[in-house]
Amino acid sequence: MTPSWETVIGLEVHVQLKTRTKLFCGCVNKYGADPNTLVCPICLGLPGVLPVLNRQAFALAVRAGVALGCDVANLTKFDRKNYYYPDLPKGYQISQYDRPLNRRGRLEIETPSGKKNIGITRIHLEEDAGKLIHPETEGTAGVSFVDLNRAGVPLVEIVSEPDMRSPEEAYAYLTALKEILQYVDVSDCDMEKGSLRCDANVSIRRPGDPKLGVKTEIKNLNSFRAVAKALSYEAARHAQVIESGGKVEQVTLTWDAVAEKTIVLRSKEEAHDYRYFPEPDLVHVQADPAFVAKVREALPERPAARRERYVHELGLPAYDAGVLTGDKELAELFDRLRGEGLAPKIASNWVMKHVLAAMNEKKLHASAFFDKTRRIAEVARKVEAKEVTGQTGGDLFLWILETPESASVDEHVRKQGLAQVSDAGALEAIVKDVIAKSPRIVADIKAGKTTAIQALVGQVMRETKGKANATVARELIEKALH
């Protein structure tokens, strides 16, 4: 964007709640089941059925509101949003209109010029629609398939104020939102599975102009990167339209991720008039202050607070704290290792080095290590106490992953003879042998290139399969060459 324009962005984010069942019926809330197997008369909208609100969904929606600093309404109600679409069996969506559960929240984001608060207008509860599949196979022109497993899954819609001023800020907002919602266990926020979906509103204006420009809405954004790209594209398009004397039309667009451009979404459902009215089948819901206070107390620590605590109370480097708290489970694993008696920096080193490597290589979540922490801590202590070398420690870590928690580290070390060899007598022969086999390196060292000693230490390590005490080996080499 040229500096002569200011971009104004607001986001609407839909997030599926982590419940066992749907919002108004007992069908299982699960992704990826066989089509149309998680449906019942209530979510199919058959005549004569009554919805009943899922207590846990309500509690999670309150938790989302509290975590995002909202005022939680004492009394809230549901409304029908009426429209016809093939993925909506009842012909209306149960949502919240004029009495949303949560209002006036905020979310802090990091920008290049420091921290910034983005206002949250409202967070309300509603039900998800089913899924339309548009097949491309022969004989399917002009038809769509409908899977109603998703119909009735609990959602919160989180509507931001138009407070973001660049695609980067929108990206930062989404990242922070996802981080918090995952931390407080409200949602998986997995865009690939559709448990987080985002629509973006964008307009441009001259800097200093108090009036907002005409906005367009972009849908079908399937990654945070796509949101940022689509917003950049759309803001630039607005500028071009206005600069060439045209007017931006208020339309809904879809993002074509392949062509990297926005396309006007044409739908046969043109007339948008939702004719909201109060849902007569559901009674009002109270979130009394005592309940809200309880939810607030039970809230897990937020990532930013945890990061600060790791740095200021535990003395971790900011980098470590950032990596650990970037993934809730990783932070949990780190806490568990400390619970096993490891010093913060030691615990952090093991997570940052061995755990992350194993997670990447084996495509594991950090929680896969939760039941290994006792033995991981045991190995870490052995390394610290120089009972085994760092290299052996790494091997032991991999061994732990392959064996049940009942397998004893001590016994394994003893049986396999993995203890660190610090006894000079035991290493002397190996050192002598290594020196004899490496006349060139020895010559280098004698010529003053003392760093070459490391090469000989390395050879001793190889000869002992990583078990030699490197400091002792080095001393022995220095003594022998003196």
Binding site: T21, R55, Q56, F58, L132, F145, V146, R266, S267, P280
Partner: protein
């Protein structure tokens, strides 16, 4: 309130109702009379009356988050006007 023919046509479209051309004027007149009757309520001063959206006065009717059996697919799709294997089949809406 005056119920016009275009308004009737718009509401019919939103509600997916087919109204024969001859019936639109009749519907407009009838709906007009109904709305006029309801408008009588405007004569009351309701400034200090909380809107009632639920006659029972009950609050907080919850169910616990416990799964209950869903319908077998064949039964779930039994009333569908059109289906194919596992899915309901509908005319494509998005171009």
């Amino acid at each position: 309130m005056d119920i016009t023919r275009p308004l009737v046509e718009k509401v019919a479209l939103l509600a997916r109702l087919e109204i024969p051309p001859a019936g639109a004027d009749k519907a407009a007149a009838q709906l007009g009379r109904i709305v006029t009757m309801v408008e009588k309520l405007n004569e009351l001063d309701t400034k200090n009356v909380e809107p009632m959206t639920n006659p029972t006065g009950l609050v907080d009717a919850f169910r616990s988050d416990e799964p209950r059996p869903s319908l077998p697919r064949a039964e779930a799709l039994a009333n569908a006007p059109d289906k194919v294997e596992m899915f309901l089949r509908v005319p494509r809406v998005v171009e």
